[in-house]
């Protein structure tokens, strides 16, 4: 993955200082609830996502991690409470986000056509697409598979392609929902390298996982959920050293939460 491939996005990355451009961040959730089928799945979540830090959403199955990401991204509407970005224009906010799903949804066409499709939808003029597609596929190490139908790629390659598609859009915020669940260690490493590169580029990372090792490797801060409630929102180092709640202590210790 050549470092030069990182340079297609306009904004310069200023190291060590507050980013000159936070994009649509911060994202503020205020007493957000979500109900489905008569059940309350998210309870009174109040939470702020700031630019620059990698947020990892942790919690056991059914904690509401995926729901939280979908609510933030706008795929679901909260049944109570508000979700506000720093920008008012929803269309403009939408264009600054990308989402990578646990199971990549790829169109039945070539790898490069999958990326080009997303760019076309984003309104990128045709002449500019080709170079961006090429750079995005290089970025995730799929340059040699550009012409391959996306659906015949391996699971790890498919997820890298989904990341390439997200990266090509040049988002300010990237949501990843268990991006490496079901992947082998090599594929996981490749995915994590791309995520790290995007973070270096100034993209806000919000990722769910139930893999504690991954959380330790990639989190600047932890949002710990349990049964749809926010249990802890803490600096990652502190969270792993001294979890502030019994639930978090148990989770970090690798115990099964009731």
């Amino acid at each position: 993955m050549p470092a030069s491939a990182l340079r297609i996005h306009e904004q310069p990355v200023v190291e060590g200082s507050p980013r000159a451009d936070d994009g649509p961040l911060p994202l503020r959730l205020d007493r957000v609830c979500f109900e489905a089928g008569g059940q309350r799945l998210i309870h009174d979540l109040t939470l702020t996502f700031e630019a620059g830090v990698r947020t990892v959403v942790l919690g056991p199955n059914g904690a509401g991690k995926s729901l939280l990401l979908r609510l933030c991204h706008g795929l679901l509407r909260p049944t109570a409470g508000t979700i506000r970005w720093a920008w008012d224009d929803p269309a403009r906010v939408r264009r600054q986000q990308a989402f990578v799903f646990q199971r990549p949804v790829l169109l039945r066409r070539s790898a490069s056509a999958n990326v080009a499709y997303a760019l076309a939808i984003a309104g990128i003029p045709r002449p500019a697409r080709q170079e961006r597609v090429r750079a995005a596929l290089e970025q995730v190490g799929l340059g040699h598979l550009a012409a391959r139908p996306a659906r015949v790629l391996s699971g790890g390659e498919q997820q890298r392609l989904a990341l390439a598609r997200a990266w090509a859009l040049g988002p300010k915020v990237l949501f990843l929902d268990e991006p490496t669940a079901n992947l082998d260690p090599a594929a996981t490493r490749a995915i994590e390298a791309v995520i790290a590169a995007m973070h270096e580029e100034g993209v806000k990372i919000v990722m769910t996982t139930h893999d504690l090792g991954q959380a330790r490797r990639h989190a600047d801060e932890i949002v710990f959920l349990h049964k749809g409630r926010l249990i802890e929102h803490a600096d990652a180092a502190r969270f792993f050293m001294r979890p502030g709640t019994p639930e978090a202590r148990a989770f970090v210790a690798g115990e099964l939460l009731a």
Binding site: R70, H73, L75, R94, R95, Q97, A98, F99, F101, V105, L107, R108, R109, Y117, A118, I121, A122, P149, A150, R151, V152, L153
Partner: protein, 234 residues
């Protein structure tokens, strides 16, 4: 019984020798049915896909109605088109009655609901898988329709096949609006009906065999294309 055996012999002879009358009838049949299927696909696929994505009150009833229309009786459709196109009918000025065009129209009406209903099902299933990703990318419903039709292309071949089977096999609609005029609107099914009623079984049988062969060949070709493409595309 020997009569039938003899008829088979004559029929086989007609096919092997490439009898010009038989050939003309076969070609006209193919032209009409393929045109009707093309027209029906052009209308039925977008309509089916739109119905798959749209959410409005009464949608369930419309889906039931569309599915029911897959079983439209050909003679009733033929009668309806006949009334529309007859001299006294609202479209009588077009002078289309008893022309191949009228037959294409009638068959399109029969086939469109089949293609639309099967497309609706295919696209709805596909959309269930794609919905979140497409919404995340900012794809609106209008843009999603061509995307889903393209991505469902292999499954949609089945819808087209079903439509072609219906068009090639039906006799009721084309005989009413076409009139079964020799060298003008005589197709395989109408000829089989006519020749059988006249007791001249050879041409009827010959055409019957050709009709079966065509339907089998078309299905086989598409199946091969479909499975090869599926394998290549995943």
């Amino acid at each position: 019984m020997p009569e039938i055996t003899a008829a088979f012999g004559v029929a086989f002879g007609l096919i092997v020798s490439g009898d010009s009358e038989l050939l003309q009838i076969v070609l006209l049949s193919l032209e009409i049915s393929l045109s009707a299927v093309a027209l029906a696909a052009l209308i039925g696929m977008p309509v089916g896909a739109a119905l798959a994505l749209a959410r409005f009150p009464g949608r369930g009833a419309l889906v039931v109605l569309l599915n029911a229309c897959m079983g439209l009786p050909p003679v009733v459709v033929g009668l309806f088109v006949y009334l529309m196109l007859s001299r006294a009918g609202p479209l009588g000025e077009w002078g289309l009655l008893f022309t191949p065009t009228a037959m294409v129209i009638a068959q399109s009406i029969l086939v469109t609901p089949i293609i639309a209903a099967l497309t609706r099902q295919t696209v709805e299933d596909l959309y269930a898988e794609y919905q979140e990703q497409l919404r995340s990318l900012g794809v609106g419903a209008a843009r999603a329709i061509p995307t889903l039709l393209w991505d469902g292309r292999f499954s949609l071949l089945t819808a087209v096949l079903a439509g072609f089977g219906r068009a090639a096999a039906e006799v009721g609609a084309v005989i009413i609006v076409g009139g079964n005029i020799n060298h003008v609107t005589r197709v395989m099914t109408t000829t089989i009906a006519l020749e059988t009623s006249k007791g001249y079984l050879a041409l009827a049988l010959g055409l019957g065999v050709v009709l079966l062969l065509i339907v089998v060949a078309v299905n086989a070709t598409l199946m091969v294309v479909q499975s090869a493409a599926r394998q290549a595309e995943g």
